[in-house]
Symmetry: C2
Subunit: 197 residues, 2 copies
DNA sequence: ACTTTTTCTTGACAACTGTCAAGAAGCGGC
DNA sequence: GCCGCTTCTTGACAGTTGTCAAGAAAAAGT
């Protein structure tokens, strides 16, 4: 029905974009609505014109972001013609997204953790987490196909393990910067082959 | 020098214990000093008599807790006589600690994530994370020995992957309760063998 | 018993929070 | 130019936060 986004929709996206900057830099708890509005072209009151409350803004923002990003590895999947090529491309992409979007990833882990304390976040987080699992599974499944061997673990386990490595790398990157990213690539080269028979 | 804990030390532990309850239930950001003191035999002002600020109290508390808990799997390591036995005991212990200490684990992941936004937390978190990695490595290394095969990944990768699975299970347990814990045990039975050649 | 020191409570502070209402500003149609 | 509607700003509200100082209470020392 709604083919073009309404003027209201575009404002919401604009606000969401500003919110993501602030949220990514300060985290969920420390990012106040005034601070968020301060990094936007608007004043602090406008938030409640477009969103019911802070939670709705945050959920909208992170949904907005993740929608763009669940396709991050699709090119890796479709362009690779051998298992080795896929591993390299995947490892490179992982390191790249930490380098270029660390604040967004920090925000994501922050929100996912907060959802354990704040039920209002739970549904949205669970849904997004599912799309991330599917995203990772497309990579693993494709790797299995290229290698001609069946996966050795299910989608949840594959996601859990790779997400654990990613989170560890993000944490180390936050404290130690660039150098640690090589370690992540090395780990991925070792781990992906373990995920197929 | 100090063989017995001073009276002051015991008060600090007492406060830390109360703080852990509140922090575990509400998370780092939402647990105010008044709330923490409210769940203790003292009033809210006493915190600044024993701790310089909130951060110091929180770090002291989580250090206090983790010191007790890094030995959690040591019995598993020393009592197992076959790889299969170790896997079962380890999987059972993982599920048990989620069941019995979920709030503490939520708090830990909360603090670890906050450390990416708050440099004041970083040193303590990094140090504790190292002891957890060592704890997990003792399990994996022992499994490798019992299986008569060398580990296929290093300590950081082993910790990253297993921690990822654990965190995923904790998240699912928080939303879905008891039933999901069987899944964790199943995953561990599949994954541990992948960590040795 | 009196003094000194340690321990703890109370009440206040300035700053900050999410929320909302009143009205200004902008903008369409007429 | 005027009206009505949408959009946005301003300023206020009630509540909360970490922090700290003043002094009460308790304990220790003499």
């Amino acid at each position: 029905m709604v083919l073009v986004p309404t003027k209201s929709d575009r404002r919401r996206e604009e606000l969401a974009e500003s919110a993501l900057t602030t949220l990514g830099a300060m985290g969920y708890a420390r990012a106040s609505l005034r601070e968020i509005a301060g990094n936007s072209p608007f004043s602090h009151g406008v938030v409640h014109y477009y969103f019911q409350d802070k939670t709705e803004l945050v959920i909208y923002s992170v949904r907005h972001y993740k929608r763009r990003c669940v396709t991050r590895y699709d090119a890796v999947v479709s362009d690779s013609t051998s298992p080795e090529e896929l591993v390299e491309a995947f490892a490179a992409k992982l390191a790249q997204t930490i380098r270029e979007e660390a604040p967004m990833h920090r925000l994501w882990y922050d929100l996912r953790t907060q959802s354990m304390f704040e039920p209002a976040l739970r549904d949205a987080i669970t849904e997004i987490d599912g799309t991330l699992e599917a995203m990772i599974w497309r990579v693993v499944d494709r790797y299995a196909t290229l290698a001609g061997r069946p996966p050795s673990v299910g989608a949840p386990a594959a996601y859990g393990m790779l997400d654990g490595l990613f989170q560890q790398a993000l944490l180390a990157y936050t404290a130690g910067g660039e150098p640690v990213l090589d370690g992540l690539a090395t780990q991925v080269r070792v781990v992906l082959p373990l995920l197929v028979r």
